[in-house]
Amino acid sequence: MENYIIDLQHLSKSFGDKKVLHDINIKVRKGEFVTLLGPSGCGKTTILRLIAGFLAPDEGKILLDGKDIVELPPYQRPLNTVFQRYALFPHLDVYDNIAFGLKLKNVPQKDIDAKVRKVLRLVNMEDYEERDVDSLSGGQQQRVAIARALVNQPKVLLLDEPLAALDLKMRKDMQIELKEMHEKLGITFIYVTHDQEEALTLSDTIVVLNEGRIQQIGTPADIYNEPVNSFVADFIGDSNILDGTMVCDRRVRFIDEEFNCVDEGFGENTPVEVVVRPEDVNIKKDIQKGLFFGTITSCTFKGVYYQLFLNTDKGYELMAHDYRKFEVGDLVGINILPENIQVMKKERTCNAFDATVLDSTHLEMLDGEFECLPTEIAPGTKVRAEVAFDKIDILDHQEEGSAAGQVYSIIYKGDHYHLTVLTDKRKHIYVNTNDVWDKRDLVGVRIEPKDIKIVEINED
């Protein structure tokens, strides 16, 4: 059995009737730098608060060195937290803030002095002992907050978006310092952030979360190069996410072209999603050297590289990064190497909604009433209604549709957008559309009767 310092087993948590964590399992090795990464509301901070003890899980265990600490109050857990907005004690000066934990443990004054001085040196804040915390800059307050946690020599340091309130330059500097501190001290860090770049820079292991579920656990390189689904690919770095078909092993078709790839075991003619990172879209000035060709539609200087958008001859849009400058309208050859094509299992191929038959031509689903083609199924029967992604109309006004929702995520797939719309009761509707929507748009949902396919559920 391997030794894990933190072992989260089957954690789940609800706030009211909203489930925010579903069966979370994370193992953390001693000395590891683990980052919980996800968009706001994904549950990452909740996990941290469960570990710190400010919340109790509904189900599951939190093992620290093999012992379950769920019942232990926060003040008895050998862990310390660096809070998002520092949470320094404004009535105490820097020294007393840092010494707070040590004084509670009745550490002799002589030792407190030595420890505080040592930790202040570690965070480059010597000579600040007497300062009022309100007089410090954001970065300095953050250093004091880190020092206040580290001085207690915790087994695990929990960091809740510690750099979120700092400006970009300061954030970059602090990232490097944090990384150095981690290496020097050998303390296990569990770090929460929504900044994918920060996660890639700092972590040994990244846990990607979305809507209270773990999407992927892996090293930064794994997560970047081999995302398991379109959410991870979209969230981490820039990417081209495209619908495709696995023709056979090592052969995949997307953007109406066929490519060699390195993936196997998907089966023949299976719908898949494909991720190609923009830096892996190779542009050849000589059209003949490409597998296919396209036209440059935009070229933006990004400092180290140019960000290019291309229209392929088959009408798909691709993003590319290149060190060379191209003119808009240039005809170029495009090549993608087999090992740079990441093939992912398609999570779903159509919507499947829980529905109830109301009468011969109406269904109740998605908290609304939809017209369907005449059916023989008795009213009141629970059925499954299947609707293709591109057969759902979304409308500007919520009241215009049979159901209402809010745009939750948008992924561009080369020639269309793949939207996730959430209803008030957090039911998911997946939509393919050519129209441009924004996140958090309030929309109505309409479906033509003929596009609803009713599937009876065998109730056993």
Partner: protein, 267 residues
Amino acid sequence: MTKKILAKAYVWVLLLLLYAPLLFIAIFSFTESRVLGNWTGFSVKLYENLFCAKMQGSSTLLSAVENTLLIAVIAAMLATILGTVAAIGIFNLKGRKRQTMNLLNSIPMVNPDIITGVSLFLLFVFLHISQGFVTVILAHVTFCTPYVVLSVMPRLSQMNPNIYEAALDLGATPAQALRKVMVPNLRPGMVSGFILSFTMSLDDFVVTFFTRGTIGLDTLSTYIYTDARKGGLTPELRPLMTLIFLIILILLIVINVRQTKTQKKKV
């Protein structure tokens, strides 16, 4: 120009009207005349009488002052503790519950004193609690607590919501976190609440009148009321009121200075 002078004159007339009664009492506290309004030359005799207990019935007046202060201090202390705890509780409620509690907290403040007094009187009678010193304190705590809640609440919303958790995180038990982190940070609000409660308790007549029972407990306000009905105010009340006014004035200045200080700090 005339506009300016008129505006200024208006303010001064207003201030004069507001403070005239106080000035009147203050001026006539420095003369010996037994009848208010007769100036019989400058003298500090009334002050002397007040402090050297050389006046008729001085013992009852002094005991009334003593009662007033004792009740005010005890009631203000209890209300401060109760109100602070309540504020923390209400602050941690969410949404509708919090709104409801805030509303329930503000109703006693707008409720007329006479209703508070009569209803407390009926309550004590109904519960067979013999009325006296304790019931007056309970009554004063009742009408002071909402003001403490109101003065502590803004401190709570200004506070970083994580500092209580930060204290727990660093090994403080909930009691230690309350004592070492919450109270020091809420102290300005608690002090304002205490001062407010203290002055309101000093000031109260109606509620005290209904809850003091029949054992002959007198506070300053009930003493003056009885005294005035017996036929004319005891002249020594003039210096006493002047002193009380001065004390309140100083307290108010202290509160204001504190407020401007914290505001400056925020900026």
